[in-house]
Symmetry: C2
């Protein structure tokens, strides 16, 4: 996969505590990789609720089709999630669809519950059907090893071009009862989520009705996973799941606007934001972490589209890689977004420096200010359109030689 | 600016014959570059008509604002075009606007006609105001050197990161009277024209009313300049002008659908297509020339947007640079376009090979076929969506280390 760790990797994997109501196991199924795990099964005790968002790509994989349908199926036993790396099982025809069915049936037989309710995800190369028997052969042994303590192992098993495993955890209280939220994610390239990101799993022991889960997920995916972009390419396998075991000892929550959820929402957003940041910090070939803040737009949606246009511009990304405070390219990328923008009301800051405002370079700005700032590892670009109250923030990385090395040489 | 000539450069600059009704000169104004020309003045005899299309970027340069207005101003003398390279005079505030006015006034004084009718264009770095006096100082000398024979010199004077000058010519007959069409263009990066390309000038000695000129230009810009993309970034300075001196000896044409224009339209399209191809063939860092043909879409517009999505995908472009027939990434890029597409009715060819159809890899395809084909310098990808009769073709290049070298190191 990738022998160079991102310079933005965290110091280590955070300590994710066991979560009441969930057990899991990983295995070396040998789908494609050798000498590493590539299969993860998560088992939520009976009563576990699940919500999900999936890729908006029009050519989704067979596992996405299956899992979208499974979201609506009640489970008569545990709630299972099965994830493999090594193949995405996308555009793999009838063989791919058959593999999903065989995987679900094998998992139901080994872990209980009905096959139709199982969430299945595959990540890796597109166009190669999953060999389901490699997974099914592992399920019996995995069923004997299920543990509540395997989050880091799980995060490692679902990696592809990732250079580090991604996890986050937070505590919150509902009705004074402490609950925990754990999450893991994978993703490094083909990252421009249009609903969710490559693969992310967030679980809690809180007791929440399914519509509440889905509502929270829909609300929070915008400022978290949908606000990161590595290369503007939207994966065919994006999946974000949110599971709740209901093991915590508080009265069930059945309304998304229940005031008892305030602290929980804060914690959930923190976990989702942390995971989405870890994905962009592992962006393929990253040498600079870039935050694009747009304000003064006619609406939040307009601000978001302008921020995405800047974040995805190859000329902006290569200038940042070259430590060039090339705000002319930022002007270009604002203007090409097709959103309302007025050259003469636009202002641009890079870090603490005002580079341009009112349609011209700032009188106090000298190139040395930008040149010094651009040597920083983390770059912040603030764009005010001067038109209204709309704002958005998008997180991205630069475009480097290493991105080309990874993607011209590796069949992912 | 660029010491490595594109491998897709033509053998030499074509022979552009003198064009009745037009004279021109170039000069070393020293705007930014040293030891080369950077200024071109084209003079159309009184009676010359002009049509233009300009960038759709919402942050256009002062010269674009000026020239868009100048298009509606009748000239009381010759029709002038003034172009400099070295600065784009974009986002340069009042100083930039003043420079355009000073340039126009200086040109009118030296070459005749009214300043307000002059077409002015600047290309180069964004955010630096043009020093108009550098241009104006040259106009007197240039007025003494005007010649009908300077097309190649003109093409050289307007280059920035281009690795070769771009020109094309064609002959046609109107009413049996021979007429000539000459064109020059520049552009290599920041190429995703949304109306025109960086800078292109097409001129003829035919006798055409201005509305006819504009109609022909609007009709033909779609399948030519608007169908090439290097890096998905739309310039703030894109300008395409079409001038007609009326020196040819046929009865004037005042309707765009006049059947006498059939042969002329063919020739005009050929010139515009040739120039747009020369731009993509000089795409920054190009190692492969790529044609994306989409058919079976619900409309031509939908086919165009799918083709652009594939052509602009960093993962598709890096795979091509790596000579990897990675059709999975093509499926991804089709799906992310947001246009109607059905995974199971999609088929993909690379050159003569069918890679995938009906939602799965083609049974007869083996990886060696694609691996051999991808070593070619010119790659053709054909995508049939299987939904309707819409079709479009987009031309692009791959994404290489050299693109990053050029754009991380050069302030353009």
């Amino acid at each position: 996969m990738n022998d160079m760790i991102s310079p933005f990797a965290p110091d280590g994997f955070p300590k994710l505590p066991p979560l009441r109501g969930f057990t899991m196991a990983t295995a070396e199924a040998g789908v494609k990789y050798r000498g590493r795990t590539d299969l993860w099964v998560l088992r939520g005790e009976p009563g576990t609720e699940v919500a999900g968002v999936y890729t908006q790509n029009r050519c989704p994989g067979a596992p996405v089709d299956w899992s979208r349908a499974a979201l609506t199926v009640a489970s008569n036993g545990p709630r299972l999630v099965v994830v493999n790396s090594g193949t995405a099982n996308v555009f793999s025809g009838q063989a791919g669809r058959d593999a999903v069915v065989a995987t679900a049936q094998g998992a139901a037989a080994a872990f209980g519950g009905n096959a139709e309710a199982i969430q299945i995800a595959s990540t890796g190369v597109i166009g190669v059907a999953l060999e389901a028997e490699k997974l099914v052969d592992q399920f019996g042994g995995m069923a004997t090893r299920m543990t509540p303590d395997g989050w880091e192992a799980a995060a490692r098993a679902i990696m592809t071009t990732d250079t580090y495993p991604k996890g986050a955890t937070a505590q919150a209280k509902i009705d004074g009862v402490p609950v925990t939220i754990n999450g893991i994610a994978k993703g490094s390239g083909m990252i421009a989520p249009d609903m969710a990101t490559m693969l992310a799993y967030v679980a809690t022991d809180a007791t929440l009705d399914q519509p509440v889960l889905q509502h929270l997920l829909n609300d929070l995916v915008g400022p978290t996973f949908n606000s990161v972009t590595v290369d503007s390419d939207t994966s065919t396998s994006d999946t974000l799941l949110f599971l709740a075991s209901g093991a915590a000892d508080h009265a069930p929550v059945s309304q998304a606007d229940d005031p008892r959820l305030a602290d929980f929402c804060r914690a959930l957003r923190a976990v989702m934001f942390d995971l989405s940041q870890q994905i962009v910090r592992d962006g393929e070939g990253i040498s600079k972490l870039v935050t694009i803040r747009v304000s003064g737009a006619v609406s939040d949606g307009s601000a978001y589209r302008v921020a995405k246009s800047v974040a995805d511009s190859p000329l902006v990304k290569t200038a940042i890689a070259g430590e060039d405070a090339n705000w002319g390219r930022i002007v270009m990328a604002v203007g090409k977004a097709g959103e309302p923008a007025e050259r003469d009301s636009l202002s641009i800051h890079i870090g603490p420096h005002c580079l341009a405002s009112q349609g011209q370079p700032d009188a106090d700005y000298v190139e040395e200010m930008g040149a010094t700032y651009m040597k920083e590892a983390e770059i912040e670009i603030a764009i005010d359109l001067g038109l209204g109250g709309g704002a958005a923030t998008v997180y991205t990385c630069d475009l480097t030689h290493r991105y080309i090395d990874i993607n011209a040489d590796y069949r992912s």
